[in-house]
Symmetry: D2
Subunit: 363 residues, 4 copies
């Protein structure tokens, strides 16, 4: 980080708060009990800026072979591995990986390696690895497909329940969003005793909107260079919750996760692969020979708080993914971090944030 | 209209402009050549505030039995008549009606009557009427199902290519949106020589956002009364274009139409039926014995301007639906018109609109 | 019935048995506890041969507002009313009606009347009536839309748990299938302590196959006359079960129900609306304010017997719908009953049925 | 092949003909102009019986980046790579590979290697490889994932327009279907001047039916051993045609391809991944910067012959996949070839085939 480069800060650390609902302890995906996140970051500047992010539900193991999961494909210009079985069975049976487009299949193969080697999988002969991706080909030499099995295993093995790193890390190392450097972001909300956690890999086009205020990328002195790239790459969103939702309900949650992209200014370009996966950690179903623990059902009439929590947490995770990212000089261009002072100035001018009192740091 | 009631005004008449794309002549659905709109409004205050809106593509007739059409169901808590055949054949074969939930089936039956009596339909023995609906049960006695065949036929027969009436008219007579009186709204955009027109029936929950600025319903002196109604009723969106898109592409357009609801503050509640239909007027296919005129295809790579036009036109149509609606005292409560002066004051305070110079009318 | 006309007989009464699984008591839809079936038959020969069939789940009432339901659209050239909400909520909230295409909307409206007048629905202001249809326009003057509210209410009110009438009755009065007179058919299977009941409205094209043996329509002396009608009209299939399946699983069941049409020779013509609805009667969810009874879940690994039961019961219901139908002289042609003796002769020739011993009745 | 083992023979070589439509020259997938098929077969008995089958459309190249494609997921218990983008864009942009479940991701990665190295792809930074799979884990050590990049490239490079090898070859080397040794099968039909070609990888459960006559697996002296494997693995079906269909229409074709599995006795088990992809070779669209050649449209009313051709060709391809396969002793059991003489005997007994005259070979 150069002297004049800003320190990554989360939205709330800058005073930017989305919605009125309380967050979990870390304001992160990992606030959902039993889910962990790990990253492997690959940087060999300026040519390579890529990586892997692993989302690991602890409940998957010898006694529990699947978790309820819903999927929404907002725009299917993407290569999500595992989609049709998730839709059919309403379940995931592996951790979820995020990575770069052309490396998604290597990552899926490595995920198979990982699960086959896990306890209880000695006799497993079918498996549905789930791997999402976005295209980091502007900042990274995506054709090189640098993701190796070791990178995937490291992300899986290193997953923790701490606040995940955000910004230029893991699968977000080389992404660009809304004309700025994008990356990994996370947030959470607590409603009705349940936690909803979101994690995003932001890499899509449009004009950044922060709490209603546009922050055009060209307002920056040294803006992101496009290298003739088409706008619109993708956004992968993962939602986890300990609310005992079934797959159909989780599909409804996943839809709202994509809808929330509009709040930060996505233009939903045709070349963007916009996907959301939403899974639930409690009880049923166990798609194995051991019966799942019957779970209390949530009535569809009671889902609105979960929907609201999801949309707020996705919006904030997307903001976090940009605000924590740092300017990156890459393979085919440069992506500028969104300037915190610009954002704050505009939000203050719009009355969204109060004018700083004496003694408040500038950003 | 009482003395102190505001005059309905469209967003642009108040200086509120969505996006940079040019509009069509009327800034309306009917800017798309060959589509007409008609309304039948039923008011017997305070008990009945309901009606029918008819969207009539001229191209449907003896020589052309269908138009390409795509459908997106953002949230299927609704009763859209005709959905599965639209999805299968990628086509509509009748005008599209909008009305009140419990009257949708009477309206569909009347639409059958209308088409069977049309020239060229003497031997027609199958037909897929398309009827959308939202629930106007707060302001109208929806259980009475007051829509009769004559109301439907009047809307169809009265359809014109003029600027459609907006606000408390037709299927929007009794709707409530974002805590204010909703209704019918329309807007259009012109991109690449094509026109994209939108028409909405707004009736959904959330907090109104105008160009990024929240306008909470409780900021009003005499707010909308809820009568214990659940939030979230529905939003029907219809998009028409003369761009020669096929059904799959129109489905992509329809998705963006629903996504745009986020821009005005929809909370995408679980009880809201959020649907978009998008149809295309040129050439192919004729699903009859007469071959359709081969149409120039639009490459998917070239759809982004159409997507952008759709989202801007839906956003503005939704704003128009509220700004042109008037306070309505209904069957089970009152819905307040959104106060123009409040909106303008807030947009000026946020710097979205300039401060009025001397001589500018207050609203 | 003329002197030389055959008596309607069910497949099993002719010795034709599909599969090895046991049937329920009546070998009928109504073997599923808590479901009833009623018919209204409208005949004014030769012009009108139509009607309504009502499927009434007793569980729907003041305490239980919905039952889990899945839908599969094998070919969406049909007008199924209520489809999108069934898909969204995975539930039905009304009885299911079957009728003639152009009368489906009148029937839906009448179903709304019926439910609004039911105990506990005094305050109901939204409702998703579910009405399936096939096109009986060859034998009945479908443009006349003769179904009135009274016909629908009679079918609903007359529903019983007895063995439903089959053949030329209710919604099957005027249907034609596989070149013969079609109609209503029903069958059931018992697996793992659960009952699977099916009811079909057969009206589709192809070449009849009975247990693998083709029975071409032109093998008959006085075959069905086509009146220039396009082949392929539709098939509506309803499956009920007391297995506690959720909506996703019921969607899987519904898919198999349509797949089973291949066994009797459906050609899955493009103009045929081939739909299956599958619902489950136990416990959850109650989509109202009263929580649903938590139900034991069925693991997806345990569904294969249910799938097998469904396919066998649909196949047999389809055969029953033809074997119990009688030759009908209608509005635009005649539909010949499939001759039992021809079927038996061919099945014996193929070795599917044993040669009749002395004393066995010819058919 | 041991002395007493039967020679692989295609259905027609045994006198078994499906339907009345004419076949193409080879009665094979490759009868569609511009499509080639290649296999890499991996056998290291008894442990490994697996491979790769490549379907290569010549039209894909520098001037044409995509072909219209439809997908139907009959039962999504499978890992089809590339599904969501095929659905979104209605197109394939790579050859299609078939292989073994756990090797699908390695194969997809190798397919990326292949395409990136192709002329015109020097700047390609996104790609949607399409790889289908079924599970050959009974006869092959699937956990070993023996498919290497070289195997995939060999299948692609070796693809020809000749009659493809069938039976125990390529992706069909280790599959088991309907209680017998399955494999690769192919067939074609010519309708209305268009060719419809099918290629299947058969690996699913049920009871074999040949032209209506059941051939139970336990009628064989040395039947297939199950090794405790669950029934039901999968079936991948690929359909190609030179009819100028769009993606929606090809989706309708794909549905019929899966429906046709019922004709040979599939039980559509829940653990079976039953997928069909259907693509069209003419003209539009080119999803690149070069506009696609406008193609004559086919009206949906004219699709029935294509549907019939598809269903007949899938049925015959499935029969060919079994009749050309040979008994295989594998990793966890043995799969018996379906005995031709048994099939012929039963078909003659049922009157489906004539009794052999003197001089006709026994099988």
């Amino acid at each position: 980080m150069s002297d004049n480069e800003q320190h990554p800060r989360r939205a709330r650390d800058l005073g930017i708060v989305v919605g009125a609902l309380p967050t979990g302890r870390h304001n992160a995906f990992t606030d959902v009990p039993g889910v962990r996140v790990g990253h492997t970051t690959i940087v060999d500047a300026p040519r390579l800026h890529t990586g892997v992010t692993a989302i690991v539900p602890d409940a998957l193991g010898p006694d529990r072979r699947s978790l309820p999961c819903g999927l929404f494909v907002g725009n299917g210009f993407g290569k999500l591995v595992g989609a049709t079985q998730v839709a059919e069975l309403g379940a995931i049976e592996t951790p979820i990986l995020l990575t770069a487009t052309l490396s998604a299949f290597r990552a899926a193969d490595a995920l198979v390696t990982h699960v086959l080697a896990s306890p209880g999988h000695e006799e497993t002969r079918t498996l549905n690895p789930v791997v999402g991706e976005t295209n980091d080909g502007r900042l990274s030499d995506i054709r090189a497909r640098p993701i190796a099995e070791s990178h995937v295993l490291a992300a899986l093995d290193g997953a923790t329940a701490d606040l995940p790193e955000e910004g230029c890390v893991g699968a977000g190392t080389g992404t660009v969003a809304l004309g700025f450097k994008g990356g990994i972001g996370t947030s959470s909300r607590v409603v009705g005793g349940w936690t909803v956690g979101t994690l995003v890999q932001s890499n899509f086009s449009g004009t950044l909107i922060v709490r209603g205020v546009p922050i055009p990328a060209d307002a920056v002195d040294e803006p992101t260079t496009s290298a003739g790239e088409p706008d619109g790459n993708s956004c992968m969103i993962v939602v986890a919750t300990d609310a005992p939702l079934d797959a159909r309900q989780l599909g409804r949650v996943a839809r709202r996760a994509v809808f929330a992209m509009a709040r930060v200014g996505s233009d939903f370009a045709g070349g963007s692969g916009d996907y959301a996966l939403a899974f639930s950690t409690p009880g049923a179903p166990s798609s194995g020979t051991t019966p799942g623990t019957p779970a209390r059902r949530v009535d569809d009439h009671d889902l609105d708080p979960v929907f609201a929590a999801t949309m707020d947490a996705v919006e904030e995770a997307l903001l976090n993914s940009l605000l924590t990212a740092t300017t990156t000089v890459g393979h085919r261009g440069t992506a500028a971090a969104v300037p915190h002072d610009l954002v704050l100035r505009r939000l203050r001018a719009a009355g969204v944030l109060p004018q700083p009192s004496a003694g408040t740091p500038a950003s």
